[in-house]
């Protein structure tokens, strides 16, 4: 589903966020990317979401080489990927329902279908009863779940999440992870950046550890096994 070949991302200052990084994530996998801040987790996700482009190397997502995705085609490309953000990026000028419906409206889904699918998505994150509320009136955990509902409402094959539990306490974090787990069980590929190692260990998922823009080589065999 995701494949990186020798990817380097260098910023204008000359500083490298990723240095010759290669990795791959199979279809249906649920993989965590860990590392200290500045290790390149966010950069990795940004390259996959085409918010940034690599300085060199290839990023291939669902058999599409992102290098060949023209600027004009980026919106269509992003619509195939569900994205969850640490600050959830909800729009506070409209209710929960409209926030979740936004990707469907962008995709041109008819009103009736959109209504059904939004409710289904909200149901999956147990927030169906809050569809009329403004996101600002919800708790942090609920806001993040709305963000997740918005990410999955178009039923993407791939979901990427950048520190989705960064602002949540352990209980809420576990709840969010359980939701992710359920998506994974029905075939969604997930790539989640997180620094919450104890939580990840409890879930027992594969972990890609980054350090200074490279794979962390604390256990050579394990790293080889990943590649």
């Amino acid at each position: 589903m995701i494949q990186l070949d020798n990817v380097t991302k260098r910023f204008p200052g000359g500083q490298e966020a990723l240095s010759g990084l290669s990795l791959s994530v199979d279809k249906g996998e649920m993989v965590f990317v860990t590392g200290h801040s500045g290790a390149g987790k966010s950069t990795l996700l940004r390259l996959i979401a085409l918010i940034d482009r690599p300085t060199s190397g290839e990023v291939i997502v669902d058999n599409q080489n992102t290098r060949r995705v023209k600027r004009r085609k980026i919106p269509a490309y992003r619509r195939q990927i569900g994205m969850v953000f640490q600050d959830h990026k909800l729009l506070s000028d409209r209710p929960v329902f409209d926030n979740v419906a936004l990707p469907l409206i962008i995709a041109g889904v008819s009103h009736r279908d959109a209504g059904r699918r939004v409710r289904a998505a909200l149901d999956q994150v147990s927030l169906l009863h809050k569809e009329k509320q403004n996101p600002l009136t919800l708790s942090a955990g609920e806001q993040q779940r709305v963000g997740i509902a918005r990410a999955i409402v178009t039923r993407p094959k791939l979901l990427i999440a950048d520190e989705p539990t960064g602002n949540l306490d352990p209980d809420l974090s576990l709840e969010v992870m359980r939701i992710f787990r359920r998506f994974n069980e029905v075939g969604v590929t997930l790539l989640i950046a997180s620094h919450d190692i104890s939580l990840i260990d409890r879930l027992g998922c594969r972990r890609i550890a980054l350090e200074g823009g490279k794979l962390q080589l604390e256990d050579e065999d394990e790293v080889d096994a990943w590649l």
């Binding site: 269509a76 039923r155 029905v186």
Partner: protein
């Protein structure tokens, strides 16, 4: 993206026609933009008033000029000029000349006033009947009253008069209506000035609406970023702003129309009074459907143009970080 998951919860997408989706989407975006305007009534009203006043000005002057034209149009006979023929011309020669001049493309009509008719009229109107009867010979020449065609400009009129004056049969061309021509020339200048002024005011509207849309875009920067982040195209994020420009134009144009109509209504009475003084051949011109449509159409075009240019410029700049 056909991952089957939770089949009861997620119903399959019903295929609707692309056109109806497109229309629904535009309808909801346009209503959304209108709703947004109504939620900031004061700011929106200011823009609408600015557009209205700015457009009402040239539109109103245009109506006044049109009035003046129709008024001077009723003085068309004032453009007639008299051609006095040589004394030795016979009636049939004068008739021939009248026919000849009447065939010119720039002449609408020629009326021959023979010396006898002129004398008779003079006798009746002047009150010198008895005295004139003492004269043995008719001292008056045959005369032609020439009415120029409607397409004449002041220059072509002058040429026409000159050419007729140069004919060997003509004695004198008498024009006592030069002031009408001057009046027309002044109207021409005013019309030109309106065109220039309207163009400048149009630019002002574009700048004002563009600037308002720009502020709106800045205020909704987060929304635009998030929308782009989850796959909204430039066209998608631009759409609400285009509708905002459309509504500004439509409402501003309607307000301009209202202002002009009010102005005409207030002018009706004094103009009617003036018309009474001029034997009633002046009527207040009203705004026809075409002109009303032109005012609103211009306003909508300017609003759309301004928002299009602004949105296109800024949307490309705002990208998710």
């Amino acid at each position: 993206m056909a991952v089957t998951r939770n089949a009861d919860a997620v119903a399959p997408v019903r295929s609707s026609s692309a056109l109806s989706i497109w229309l629904t989407r535009h309808a909801s975006t346009s209503l959304g933009a209108l709703g947004r305007l109504s939620r900031q009534p004061f700011a929106s009203l200011m823009i609408i008033i600015v557009i209205g006043v700015t457009l009402a000005l040239p539109a109103a002057i245009n109506v006044v000029v049109k009035n003046a034209q129709s008024m001077s149009g009723s003085w068309d006979n004032a453009l007639d000029f008299s051609v006095y023929l040589n004394m030795d011309l016979t009636v049939s020669e004068a008739e021939g000349l009248a026919r000849l001049i009447g065939q010119r493309a720039d002449v609408a009509a020629v009326e021959l006033v023979t010396a006898d008719e002129a004398l008779l009229e003079f006798k009746q109107q002047s009150g010198f009947g008895e005295a004139l009867n003492q004269l043995g010979d008719n001292p008056l020449p045959h005369a032609l009253v020439v009415r120029p065609g409607p397409g004449n400009t002041s220059a072509s009129l002058r040429l026409l008069q000159e050419e007729i004056g140069n004919l060997p049969e003509t004695d004198l061309v008498q024009v006592d209506t030069e002031w009408v021509q001057r009046f027309h020339a002044i109207l021409d200048i005013v019309r030109q000035a309106i065109a220039i002024g309207a163009a400048l005011l149009g630019i002002a509207i574009v700048v004002i609406v563009g600037n308002t849309i720009r502020l709106d875009i800045e205020n909704r920067r987060d929304e635009i970023e998030v929308t782009k982040l989850i796959g909204g195209s430039n066209a998608f994020v631009r759409r609400p702003f285009l509708w905002t420009g459309f509504w500004y134009g439509l409402l501003g144009g309607s307000f301009a129309l209202l202002l002009v109509q009010c102005g005409l209504y207030l002018l009706r009475e004094p103009v009617t009074r003036l018309a009474g003084l001029y034997q009633g051949n002046i009527a207040v011109a009203t705004l026809g459907v075409t002109e009303s449509g032109a005012i609103i159409g211009t306003a909508v075009f300017l609003g759309l143009f301004a928002s299009w240019v602004t949105a296109a410029r800024h949307m490309r700049r705002i990208e998710p970080r």
